[in-house]
Symmetry: C2
Subunit: 156 residues, 2 copies
């Protein structure tokens, strides 16, 4: 949807919609998040694939080898996956909203447990999860204050 | 624009539009990114404010103290700021595109140098930078391949 930085596309998605999947994910979530996962038609786990450079021959055919070499630098794949995977997660939220769905993104869950349950045998690490569906108006609270333009930044 | 997780809103923005600001930022960027910064009408630095919990009395008036206590846990503010600050950066990109602007997000720059030049005396850390303006059609390349639905995930 939107741009990431350099076509790295590290996000991977598990679309949890079966009863078994929901129960497993809910069991690994913070208590207050459990009913949300069980009640939502679908909850997506957004993960960062630390092996994302393996896809460069497809994604960056003109530059794959150079780009793969660059990401051999220790720590770079991790921070890049977190940055770009989060951008991709935000595009998912915007895309779902554009379809009229409500989104409930959450980070209150056992990351290591989710990785073991849903990403075993890979180098994918869970970033956040997001319920998709239609929110109940009676469970929504009023929009909270935001920072002003000046509080959040300045010209230079 | 979109949702972040828990109204933490850690992103801070420096809107670089003066000649001095552009020259300073370009001097801290990877060589291939310099002309982009100098030619763009504006480049925004998206930073993560590790002190974001200080804003909770305004942003989360009903829950500020509990939330601030939670983020005293070592490392949690950093990963949370990176996740939510990147989501906010993606919303900025989508908002700019909705206004008809082209976006050039980049991570090829000296983060420590940018932090010193633009965020001195704060705990704000640069995440990525993004040129805003109107791209020249002759400098654009064709859209690269994406992963298929199945390559990027599965149902569970």
């Amino acid at each position: 949807m939107g741009a990431d930085l350099g076509q790295q596309l590290p996000a991977r998605f598990v679309w949890v919609r079966s009863s078994e999947g929901k129960a497993q994910l809910a069991g690994l979530a913070a208590e207050k998040n459990r009913p949300k996962i069980l009640e939502a038609p679908l909850t997506v786990i957004i993960g960062n694939d630390l092996d994302f450079p393996n896809q460069f021959p497809k994604l960056l055919p003109y530059n794959a080898e150079t780009a793969q070499k660059a990401f051999a630098q220790p720590g770079l794949a991790e921070v890049t996956a977190m940055r770009n995977g989060s951008l991709q997660g935000a595009y998912l939220i915007i895309a779902a909203r554009a379809l009229g769905l409500d989104c409930g993104p959450m980070s209150g869950f056992d990351n290591a447990g989710v990785d073991q349950a849903f990403f075993a045998g890979t180098r994918i690490q869970s970033n956040f999860i997001c319920c998709l569906g239609y929110g109940r108006p009676d469970s929504l609270f009023p929009r909270n204050p935001r920072l002003t333009f000046e509080e959040a930044g300045h010209f230079a």
